[in-house]
């Protein structure tokens, strides 16, 4: 049934912390590993050792650079830049290093861009068109916990659901002729043969920085809901109106250069001729 079920109380999903994600792809690989051999696998690969390997993944890790808008210098940061000046520029005296030190002084402070790693998988949206567009009922949202799944036995591989997903969460397998997507590891999280601690998505368990959290976002008292409230978690592309369940936690803003309380710290310039009073003072401080 591709009519959306009435909103469920339980909304299982992930919370992804962009502050701590280091972009290691461990979640993506662990996801592929689990699901390839799991109930929803395999996740086929094509041309694995050839020129252009291709395969199905449920989780992809992007890396972005974010340039503060005020400082963004147009022409240097943007899409598809093309060369601005002519050919090879001679490295002349201007860029030659200080002769005394024999190395060039690197330019300082001009790079305030943030590099942010960004894992992307199904957000298990509350009102997603990927479900309603499906002609066969293969794509469905579970009434009991809100997980969005594909029934591969019903799927005709029309790809329409992947067109309807703004988040690129669905990957079609040409080998299997069906649509595949993140299952929220439904075959782990309810798996009675697992110990309690293992009843979590594979990607969450693999994350070395604990940037991924799993839980019930419908329960305001759950750990994930609290985390979202505390850290100002947000939706991707809210304008689509799909109401994602998964939330992203923003990175902490960059402390820029010396713009912090430390800048106010008194500048201690130590003159060694007067060092001894300072050292005597340190002696007092350091004496056990």
């Amino acid at each position: 049934m591709t009519m959306l079920p009435p909103p469920s109380r339980k909304k299982l999903g992930l919370v992804i912390d962009l502050d701590t994600c280091v972009g290691c792809h461990a979640c993506a690989v662990a996801c592929k590993e689990w699901n390839d051999g799991g109930q929803f696998g395999p996740l086929p690969d094509e041309n694995p050792y050839g020129k252009e390997p291709l395969g199905v993944w449920f989780n992809r890790v992007h890396t972005y650079e974010v340039v503060p808008t005020a400082q963004a210098s147009p022409g240097t940061v943007g899409g598809n830049r093309k060369p601005v000046a002519g050919e090879r520029e001679p490295i002349g005296a201007a860029s030659r290093g200080s002769p005394a030190a024999g190395y060039r002084l690197p330019a300082t402070g001009s790079s305030s861009a943030m590099t942010i790693h960004f894992p992307r998988s199904c957000l298990h949206c509350e009102t997603p068109d990927c479900v309603t567009v499906c002609p066969t009922g293969a794509s469905y949202k579970r009434a009991e916990d809100g997980i969005v799944l594909v029934d591969e036995d019903k799927c005709i591989g029309c790809k329409l659901c992947s067109w309807a997903c703004p988040y690129g969460a669905r990957e079609y397998s040409a080998v299997r002729g069906v649509m595949q997507k993140c299952t929220l590891c439904v075959d782990r999280i309810y798996n009675d043969s697992f110990e309690e601690i293992d009843r979590q998505p594979a990607c969450v368990m693999a994350c070395p920085t604990r940037a991924r959290h799993f839980g019930d976002l419908g329960d305001p008292d759950s750990a994930v809901s609290k985390l979202v409230a505390e850290r100002d978690g947000y939706d991707l592309m809210p304008e689509m109106g799909y109401k994602p369940v998964n939330k992203y936690l923003p990175p902490r803003p960059r402390r820029d250069g010396c713009a912090s309380k430390a800048a106010a710290a008194p500048e201690e310039k130590v003159d060694l001729s007067t060092a001894s009073p300072i050292l005597r003072w340190m002696d007092r401080i350091l004496s056990r």
Binding site: G102, Y103, S110
Partner: protein
Amino acid sequence: HLGHPNAAEHRGASPSPQPSPTLSGEREQSGSGEQATSPTPSPPNPFLEGEGFKIVPADGVDISPLVVGEYVLPDGRTAVPAFQLLAERFLADEYAPENVAPQCGVDPGTIRRIAAEIADVAFNQAIRIAQRWTDAHGREHEEMIGRPVAMHAMRGISAHSNGFHTCRMLHVLQMLLGAIDTPGSFRYQPPYPKAVPPANRPGKSRKANGALDAAPLGYVHAPEDLLVEADGAPRRIDKAFSWEFPLAAHGMLQSVIRNAWAGDPCRIDTLFLFMANMGWNSAMNTTQTRAMLADRDPASGEYRIPHIIYSDAYWSETVNFADLVLPDTTYLERHDCISLLDRPISDADCASDAIRQPVCDTDPDASGRDVRPFQDVLIDLGARLGLPGLTNEGGGAKYPGGYAQYIVEHERAPGVGLLAGWRGRDGSRSGVGEPNPRQLDVYKANNCYWHAPVPAAGRYYKMANRDYLAWAKSLGFVGSTDAIVLELYSERLQTFRLAAQGHGAQQPPERERERVARFFDPLPFWYAAVDGDALLPSPTGRGAGGEGRETDQRRSEPRPSPLPLSRGERGSSGSLGEFHLSAITQRPMFMYHAWGSQNAWLRQIATHNYLYLHPDTAAAHGIGDGDWIWVESAHARIRVPARVHAGTAPGTVWTWNAIGKRKGAWKLAADAREYAKGFLLNHVIDDLLPARGDGYRYANADPVTGQAAWFDLKVRIYRDAGDLADAADAGNASNAGNAEGAA
């Protein structure tokens, strides 16, 4: 640096065998008068009493060390506490934020902010854990205080020719913060910490049966431990533990091929390599290294390196050079052990080791593959060659059961073997105990690992925590429960500097004196390592820092100070100043060096790499996103695809390590992007420094530890005029094995 007079100020704790003496303030003497209850009050020793202070063992409790100042000893010499020396060095103008900013690319304001944040976190945001513990001196503490400042640095710091001293600087900073193995700080993982330096010295001489008297790698404590000829020349093929690289505790694999090819210091018969892709990403100067592996002596027509044996589980770039290939199993097909003696899998709260067991069949009939575990092969070869460690008295093989038997039965020291778990005949012992014939079975029954949690009271301050040290001793990790002293001022380094300055029986040959004297500074210091200039001894004999300094009568010795930079003649490489961009690599988190690329999934993440550069750097060179550019060092150049990345430092360009592959290697398709578009930066990294005055070229490595200095690479870049749209057609010259020599 007062030497080691047998200090005798006794407190409850027994003095350690070699106590570092310290100066203790008089006022504390009076303040702690009640401590005269110490069991054996020592008779006052006038030799050790100065004006208002006493010399006592530094690890005494309840002393008040004089950490700053200058003190005249009773014998007239002047004593300066190590801390004063350290403070003088780093409070000097040279290390002021304004002066270091240009070198590190961080502006002074940011340096101050970071310093203030570190101090704020360490001291104002301390973590307190309610956990009683006892320190190594027997004092009890109610809680564990954490200075939650942690620093991570590995190759980025160490793989420079100034890496050792930079590492020491960070270490010293952590010491000053008290952020060593505390809650929230850097943590030791058992079996560490170990004594500084660890007791095992590198094997030096041979026993009657030909075996080395100790393991070939170890820790040099003093010049006596070096592996040098009478004239000071290196003895090992890699020149590790020589005056050129005295503390090369890991050996210098990166120099072996070059030295074997050059016959310096000696010729070898057979080069036997395994698990290091020395014909590609593990080598610096890859193109020439490959040439050396295949080079023949024109006189004899023979290979300069007569025989090469290589064991690999995959078809790496090195395989084709071998006369004999030993096809290894993969780690799914053999026994392995991840031992506490090597690189354990412990974490800070537990000691752990583990085994692997074969889970795939390697029976040639079943698998169609003719492979054997390389450890089995090594043991077999050793037995056939009659090596003493691998044969028993009768000359028969000692480990006919191969590596699995070796894991269980081999003992490095009595009771200490590769695995720490379930030792003793009955498997009841941990850490130390007789071999247990059923050990592997027990491991297999326990998910293949052994795990010993550190007792709660021993989790922090492991270097000075009695609860930890007692536990560690019971497992054989440490020899005693004495505190492990971390040095601000390194006596070991000073020993080498003194040798270079003419003290002691073992002294460096003349040509190495200045270099040893300069780099064996007992306190860490910074020096520019960019073009090897700093590493070149002056062509005119001994530089400063020799005996001449002792004219200052007030001081018994000169303050340790970075000796002045002397300038040698440059190599033939031209003006190095032109190569003004630092070029570095980073390990891709999703791959392990070269062999990740034959994993069908990891390849899908990246089949090729780019050179990343800051938009300003790109603009200054007229380079656009996706352009093909040349990266040129003083030594060679390669053609690479560029990408603009605002997160890269403007003075630096970088790429992922080891993604570029040689055509045909790893059984990838002939048009695989790893070859067609990916590249290996190592082609442009020289393995030698520019020549010193007499023409000799040192290995491109840290002069103290011999750590390869691949991150010192300096390059210039420019657009490829040819502008080939698709390198697949043109072929990426470097990956076909021919980086162009530029000089």
